[in-house]
Symmetry: C2
Subunit: 240 residues, 2 copies
């Protein structure tokens, strides 16, 4: 029924796995990301590197991979300015969400993605949001995604499907999904070319990829990879 | 229960009436609009003129009227570029929607408004969307607004109320609502300072305000004012 997709693709491990997921099942796949003054251009570089490497290593997917869209969303910086903050600052901190939290950021991403999908004739929106590792963000929750599917489908008078292949799996299972979709070639590509580290560190190399190894994003990626490796080693033990 | 509101305020007749509606019932009211390369800076000028005139003519409202927010949304221009258009162009024309249609534009406006409302501690989003006069736009429909209220409330983990005081009334009734809220002083203010004309015409003055008098927006405003005037004259006839 669905043959075309637009993947919200940031160049990280999660969205690269989502891209592989979409390429494995849809005939035409495009990608989209948003430039809003990210901490490091390293993230935007990683996107292009991953796209290039996928085209080179997976010819069957290269034929399906279409345009990449990068939209300027500097308005996000404006919304997160402290000058815009009133008495909610305290509440946000009580929530455990950081000061720079832009409420509903993913709703904006999805709405813009749907607008582009509409104009490009794409049916499915694939996003790597996940409740398992990062339930602090309400705009990543499953309830939110389902409400957004309704709002977008009604608001554009065209049905969209929002797919969230990572919603209920942890980071170890995300590595496993990548292996199932593209074998060790995809796992290696993700290790080498995707970017996760909050500090933009591309100098320290670990088994799970580049990064400072200390920030929450590195910790999560590292722990997930360790779980994935352990299950691999277990699976490769001789039976009996 | 609700005491604060953020009004999506473009400087036109509809959103000015919505602003008066909010000022008549909420203790603190702020305004927001989006700069995305509108046809004429006349629209952005009209906003500031209307705010200034309201503060001057309605002291009881002036005390409630807080900050005005103008967010850059030039990304909309990017989304509406024809380069982004694929095979949906034909379908959009069959829909009767113009080429420059940005699908889901109001969803973006509402999402950004909710993000600002979250940070400013405002509860109600007031928007002048209306099915009566302009049902062609799916992102103005009542179903869409209700789905968006769910998506925004879930996605920001804070309840928002989307109010649409004009949803089911026509342009004549919108003039009547303005009179009920602020008397003839508000009607006169709307005639003189709000802007509607698609061509940005501020040289031709009519009973209903400035405009070319020919474009669809002028035609709608003029027809609504005629209906409003007729009902006024009827009401003022001696009984019997």
């Amino acid at each position: 029924m669905h043959t075309t997709a637009l993947v919200l693709f940031s160049g990280g491990q999660d969205s690269t796995t989502c891209l592989a997921y979409a390429l494995s099942r849809y005939e035409r796949v495009e990608t989209i990301a948003f430039d809003y003054g990210q901490r490091h251009s390293v993230e935007l570089d990683a996107r292009l590197n991953v796209l290039r490497e996928i085209k080179s290593a997976f010819p069957q997917w290269a034929a399906r991979l279409g345009e990449d869209h990068l939209l300027d969303l500097s308005v996000l910086g404006k919304v997160s300015e402290t000058s815009l903050t009133r008495d909610t600052e305290f509440k946000m901190e009580a929530n455990g969400l950081p000061n720079t939290f832009v409420p509903g950021r993913n709703l904006l991403f999805l709405t813009l993605a749907a607008a582009v999908a509409y104009r490009r004739g794409l049916q499915v929106l694939v996003t790597g949001v996940c409740e398992t590792d990062f339930s602090g963000y309400p705009d990543c929750r499953d309830d939110t995604m389902k409400a957004m599917q309704l709002a977008l489908s009604l608001g554009m008078d065209q049905r969209f499907l929002i797919e969230t292949p990572l919603m209920w799996i942890d980071k170890a299972a995300t590595w496993e999904l990548a292996r199932d979709l593209g074998g060790t070639a995809l796992v290696d590509l993700i290790v080498e070319h995707t970017h996760t580290c909050y500090l933009g560190d591309r100098t320290h190399r670990h088994a799970w990829g580049y990064g400072c190894g200390e920030c929450p994003a590195c910790a999560l990626r590292s722990k997930g990879y360790a779980g994935f490796s352990a299950s691999l080693n277990k699976a490769s033990l001789p039976a009996g």
